[in-house]
């Protein structure tokens, strides 16, 4: 009898979870992600401080810093997934919620990873990338620039190049792909050989990026907690389809 009683209680509880709690969590998630996505859009006027200025720089750079664009797209996809299941939608199974959470978490993890791991590029890749083409007037031939985001930092790397003599005795070894190349790295571009003579690196902490990362982490934890809540019932019912 006790067992039956428990079962009916837990069923009621589970229905409450599907009807009320899930939507509450989804609402919370949406709010957080909207906040995060707002940061990727152009800020309101009032750029008196340095932070706002850097913000603007990043956003104008964003087609060239693909990390920002990708992260924004991933967040938007997550938001789109969530908006498809508003309050009017009635979740019928826990598996349905799990599936939605999996999809959202995938997008969020992608977005987070995009910001935390800058792409490793070879020097020729960098030379032909959009970053170098966005300058008007174009950069001088012996300078290369790389912008990327690493966690909450905006990094700017400037490579000073010097062309190698075609008949040099120095043996030529092209360097592989890396986030940051060291002086002495060599590469070949358009049949000309170059060597990196100097590297300058500037970093700048961007607070809103840091906040965005925190939002991602919180959202991921919320998703996982919701999944865990559902799994409690599944284990309670001993593998009944839930």
């Amino acid at each position: 009898y006790i067992h039956r009683c428990q079962a009916s209680h837990s069923e009621e509880e589970f229905n409450w979870l599907l009807k009320e709690e899930v939507h509450a969590v989804l609402k919370q998630l949406q709010d957080i992600l909207k906040e995060a996505s707002r940061r990727f859009s152009i800020p309101t006027p009032g750029l008196e401080n340095l932070e706002g200025f850097i913000h603007l720089i990043i956003l104008t750079l964003s087609p060239s810093v693909p990390q920002i664009q990708d992260a924004r797209n991933h967040v938007n996809q997550a938001l789109q997934l969530l908006s498809g299941r508003d309050e009017s939608y009635h979740f019928k199974t826990g598996a349905e919620v799990n599936k939605l959470m999996d999809a959202v978490m995938l997008q969020l993890t992608r977005a987070r990873n995009r910001l935390t791991t800058p792409a490793a590029m070879t020097l020729p890749e960098l030379a032909t990338s959009g970053l170098m083409k966005m300058f008007t007037p174009p950069m001088p031939g012996d300078v290369m620039v790389n912008f990327y985001i690493n966690l909450s930092k905006l990094c700017l790397t400037v490579y000073q190049l010097h062309a190698m003599q075609p008949n040099t005795t120095k043996n030529f070894r092209p360097s592989g792909s890396s986030v940051l190349h060291n002086p002495g790295a060599m590469f070949e571009l358009n049949n000309a050989k170059f060597e990196v003579s100097q590297v300058h690196k500037v970093e700048c902490v961007v607070p809103w990026l840091n906040n965005t990362l925190i939002f991602f982490t919180i959202s991921l934890q919320l998703c996982q907690q919701l999944k865990d809540k559902i799994s409690v019932f599944s284990s309670f019912w001993n593998y009944r389809p839930f």
Binding site: G84, K99, T109, N113, Q224, S235
Partner: protein, 918 residues
């Protein structure tokens, strides 16, 4: 499990169909095949008849994430290639006919759409794949090598492209680039509730647009703007967990169906055939055809077998208790199965597989349940032991998701099983003390990887969000928490790719993980780990001669599924082991020393140092094996481990002949039953082989660990309502499936039969098999008819040996006959003639007419070896590893006085070698 050795998978699917939550769909141009990709990364191939009956045929494994798109990748119908892309950026080119992976690659970004495009440059046809996805460009990829040739970028505000369409025009026959620039429509945005896709057909003015409302259950089709259909889809009959995928396909040749295909999360495919003549009106929604994977499984008779069904069907219920986790112990040949009720069962793997797959004296036991697995005493066929029951600690851990045996640890931890619970905690359960000795909880995300470092007793736990926890095992204290840094240990938990030598791999990477975690050199860590893993994998491949002739790998497509089991037979390893054991036998009248001597003699003649090589290897293995008392050993493992294992051996009840059992199972599965009546009889009575219950689901391992597994329903179209005849179950059934599979089977049968021919005790009935504790006949159960029909046992091993040699010769011949037409087609005239002449001599026993009949009977099923596989990356040719007979390509075998030379060719680089008899 790499593709360069001859490894044959056999699948035990169990009664529950794998989860197949369809994420993408493709209907091939000739409307005979439907391909579906699912969220868990598998691809299912469905056969479709002309009256729209569908049945699932095979499942392709290899992607590690959700399939995002599928596209055809070859222009004409003789080569049916498809390309698939996954969420994690993988791209794979498959042959639809046999499920072989032809090429694969991985990019950093995921593709969400692929379109096939073909054009001509001069007289040359070029095929390209145009890909769009999570990147702001269109990648143009070569359709055969999957190399990115170039990319198309928009100058104005490049962003992700969500959809693309190629519009063919007769006027622009220029280059691909030109065609693209002029005729491509790029959609940068997509409305949240309407999915729009449209395509235009060759040479017709018909095009269609499909609007699919994700909220409203309507689909609208526009044809050539003049007329349209509105389809209201039926209300969900079963509970779906995500929106279904719907696509429209138009047949380009007979029977010209217009099909609307829908695949949903329950693995169900529904087809609507749309008539041509109903413009401007809503269409009736009668489904033309629908089937789900589970329905297809349920229709089977007998039901598809699971690995321990005989123990898991409780008397009260119909359904077996599901196996939720399992681990195979190769050195003992045993399988540890954790079930959903919390019990763990230990079974001898080959024997349980024999029970499930083959007919025999154990038939009575099948499916009737040997006492719900409570049996603690018997180790006989089809029985197992319950080790730990209900290991939940305080009700927290209710679900053992994965089990991994921990060897080589501290005394106390030594006899432990590691289990992961659904609350993301790790528990070490002692088998000796029968309790949980360590519980590591506090993980916030599901656990993906567990590694350990034996010398320091560290347990490293990797979670799905990329965080890593390091636990000290004896103190229960998390000594180092590194949470939230973004890397996942690059060892995929994907079980399909897991190596057999997972222990050494684990040791290595755990070592490294710990070391580098301390130094905090994450960048280097990733590189090092990758390198070491690769190293371990290659080492795993090198350990050919350890006891890994049979490996049982548990797999599940989805975490919530019960385990299904794949038996991997390593043919080469079976043969080596048979030879080793043969050489160890103290009987001086054996054939094998002669064989070996002769082989050596042949080597002296300078003809083959391969034979010499194999002889040496056998000798080495012999030495090793004698030392280790038939126990498999890892060379890298430490001395103390050996001692321990030897100690544990005394505890083990392993007394049956593992190798012979494996060979028996293997030969029984592979033999072409039902083609040659008398031979079947001989196989049954003299050789002790057993007939299979039902068509056996084989598989095919191709490059890079990609694998195709036949679903048990692959013969559904054949068996419409009637019972399968034996020949359909056996010979025709499995041999008719695909060319690559047939070749592998023939090669295996021939080589194995050949090996067994050279052995004295190579029959599966007789004294030496009885080392195994013979199950006493149950009181009350009638004696099986098989036993009474069995011929009187031949007592003298020599006589017995001769008989069986002759018999194996016949199996061998059958294999050779089947292989012969393969030579007709293969090429070189001279070889052909020689092979033909010698085959005629060799096959005199069977007789000309009989031989001809067989060939006639088999002609439609036989492989064609003329097609070239264009693949730019070099493939290790199969013959190199096959039997290790490499280098100069042939070797000498002695088959009862007749010397036979095998020559291995591997002309088309990725095809299997041709086998000639000279």
């Amino acid at each position: 499990m790499s593709g360069n050795s001859l490894v044959l998978p056999i699948v035990l699917w169990g009664r529950t169909a794998p989860t197949h939550c369809i994420s993408s769909l493709l209907v091939m141009d000739d409307l005979t095949t439907i391909i579906t990709g699912c969220h868990d990364g598998q691809i299912c191939i469905w056969d479709m008849t002309s009256d729209l009956e569908i049945s699932p045929r095979a499942m392709l494994f290899g992607h590690t994430a959700s399939i995002t798109c599928l596209s055809k990748a070859s222009p004409c119908s003789d080569k049916q290639y498809i390309v698939s892309a996954s969420e994690s950026g993988e791209m794979c080119l498959w042959d639809v006919n046999d499920g072989r992976c032809i090429e694969f690659t991985k990019l950093a970004c995921a593709h969400t759409g692929i379109q096939f495009y073909q054009f001509t440059v001069g007289t040359q046809r070029e095929c390209r794949l145009l890909c769009n996805g999570h990147y702001p460009e269109i990648l143009v990829v070569d359709a055969t090598s999957l190399e990115v040739l170039y990319s198309l970028v928009s100058k104005i505000s490049p962003d992700w492209i969500s959809s693309m369409s190629i519009i063919h025009s007769h006027r622009t026959q220029g280059s691909l680039l030109h065609a693209l620039l002029c005729n491509t429509v790029l959609c940068y945005t997509i409305l949240p509730y309407i999915m729009l896709c449209y395509t235009m057909l060759y040479n017709t003015t018909i095009y269609y647009a499909m609007l699919y409302y994700t909220i409203l259950p309507y689909i609208m089709l526009y044809y050539a703007i003049q007329y349209y259909h509105i389809l209201s889809l039926p209300a969900d009959s079963e509970l779906l967990i995500c929106p279904p995928v719907t696509r429209f396909f138009y047949g380009r040749r007979e029977p010209f169906h217009k099909l609307l295909v829908q695949g949903d999360s329950a693995g169900r495919l529904s087809l609507w055939s749309i008539p041509d003549t109903s413009p401007l009106q809503p269409l009736s929604t009668a489904v033309s055809s629908t089937i789900s994977l589970q329905e297809a499984f349920d229709k089977l008779a007998p039901l598809s077998a699971g690995i321990i069904d005989q123990l898991s069907v409780t008397p009260g219920s119909e359904e077996p208790i599901k196996v939720t986790a399992s681990v195979y112990i190769p050195s003992q040949g045993r399988l540890v199965c954790g079930r959903e009720d919390g019990s763990i069962i230990l079974v001898p793997a080959t024997q349980t597989a024999i029970v499930q797959l083959l007919q025999g004296e154990h038939m009575l036991r099948r499916g009737e349940g040997g006492g719900s697995g409570e049996c603690g005493s018997g180790e006989s066929v089809g029985q197992g032991r319950v080790w730990v029951r209900g290991h939940g600690s305080g009700g927290v851990m209710s679900q053992a998701l994965s089990l991994a045996p921990l060897w080589a640890l501290q005394n106390r931890v030594q006899h432990c099983v590691c289990s992961v619970a659904s609350d993301h905690s790790v528990g070490l359960l002692s088998l000796r003390e029968r309790k949980c000795i360590m519980l590591a909880s506090r993980h916030l995300f599901p656990i993906q990887v567990i590694k350990w470092r034996p010398c320091d007793d560290y347990l490293v736990v990797g979670c799905s969000d990329g965080s890593v926890y390091v636990w000290q095992m004896d103190t229960d204290v998390g000594v180092l928490d590194v949470v939230g840094f973004p890397f996942v240990i690059p060892c995929h938990i994907n079980s399909a790719k897991r190596e057999t030598s997972s222990l050494s791999t684990a040791l290595f990477s755990a070592n490294l993980t710990c070391k580098y975690l301390y130094e905090h050199k994450m960048q280097q860590l990733r590189h090092k780990l990758n390198k070491i893993l690769r190293l371990c994998v290659s080492q795993g491949n090198l350990q050919k001669y350890s006891n890994n002739s049979l490996v049982v790998q548990a797999m599940k497509t989805n975490l919530t599924d019960p385990d299904m089991h794949v038996l991997f037979f390593d043919v080469e390893s079976v043969i080596i082991q048979l030879l080793t054991e043969e050489a160890q036998r103290p009987n001086p009248t054996l054939v094998s020393p002669e064989t070996l001597q002769k082989a050596q003699g042949a080597a002296d003649k300078g003809g083959s140092f391969l034979a010499n090589k194999i002889f040496k290897q056998v000798k080495e293995t012999m030495k090793e094996t004698i030392k280790e008392h038939l126990l498999d050993e890892d060379e890298e493992e430490e001395e103390e481990m050996r001692r321990r294992e030897e100690k544990s051996k005394s505890l083990s009840l392993l007394e049956y002949n593992l190798t012979m059992d494996t060979a028996k199972l293997f030969m029984s599965c592979l033999h072409a039953w039902g083609l040659n009546g008398p031979l079947d009889e001989v196989c049954l009575s003299r050789l002790g082989m057993l007939k299979p219950h039902c068509p056996i689901s084989f598989g095919l391992i191709s490059r890079g660990g990609h694998m195709s597994l036949m679903l048990p329903t692959f013969k559904m179209a054949l068996a419409t309502g009637r019972k399968l005849s034996l020949s359909e179950i056996g010979g025709k059934g499995t041999y008719g499936v695909s060319r690559a599979v047939t070749t592998q089977h023939l090669l295996s049968v021939i080589s194995l039969a050949n090996t067994l021919m050279g052995m004295t005790n190579a029959t599966f009935v007789g004294e030496h098999m009885k080392k195994a504790p013979v199950r006493p006949p149950r009181p009350g159960t009638p004696e099986t008819p098989k036993k009474s029909a069995a011929p009187p046992q031949v007592s003298s091993p020599a006589v017995q040996g001769q008989i069986k040699q002759g018999n194996y010769k016949r199996i061998f011949s059958l294999g050779a006959v089947l292989g012969e037409p393969l030579m007709y087609r293969a090429g070189s005239k001279r070889c052909e003639e020689a092979a033909q002449a010698l085959l005629l001599a060799e096959l005199r026993r069977i007789g000309q007419s009989g031989r001809k009949d067989t060939i006639d009977l088999w002609a439609p099923y036989l492989p064609q070896y003329v097609d070239q596989v264009s693949s730019r990356k070099s493939t290790p040719c199969v013959c190199v590893s096959f039997l290790r007979l490499t280098v100069c390509g042939y070797t000498l075998y002695n088959i009862s006085g007749l010397s036979v030379t095998f020559i291995f060719y591997s002309q088309p680089p990725s095809e299997l070698p041709f086998l000639y008899l000279l």
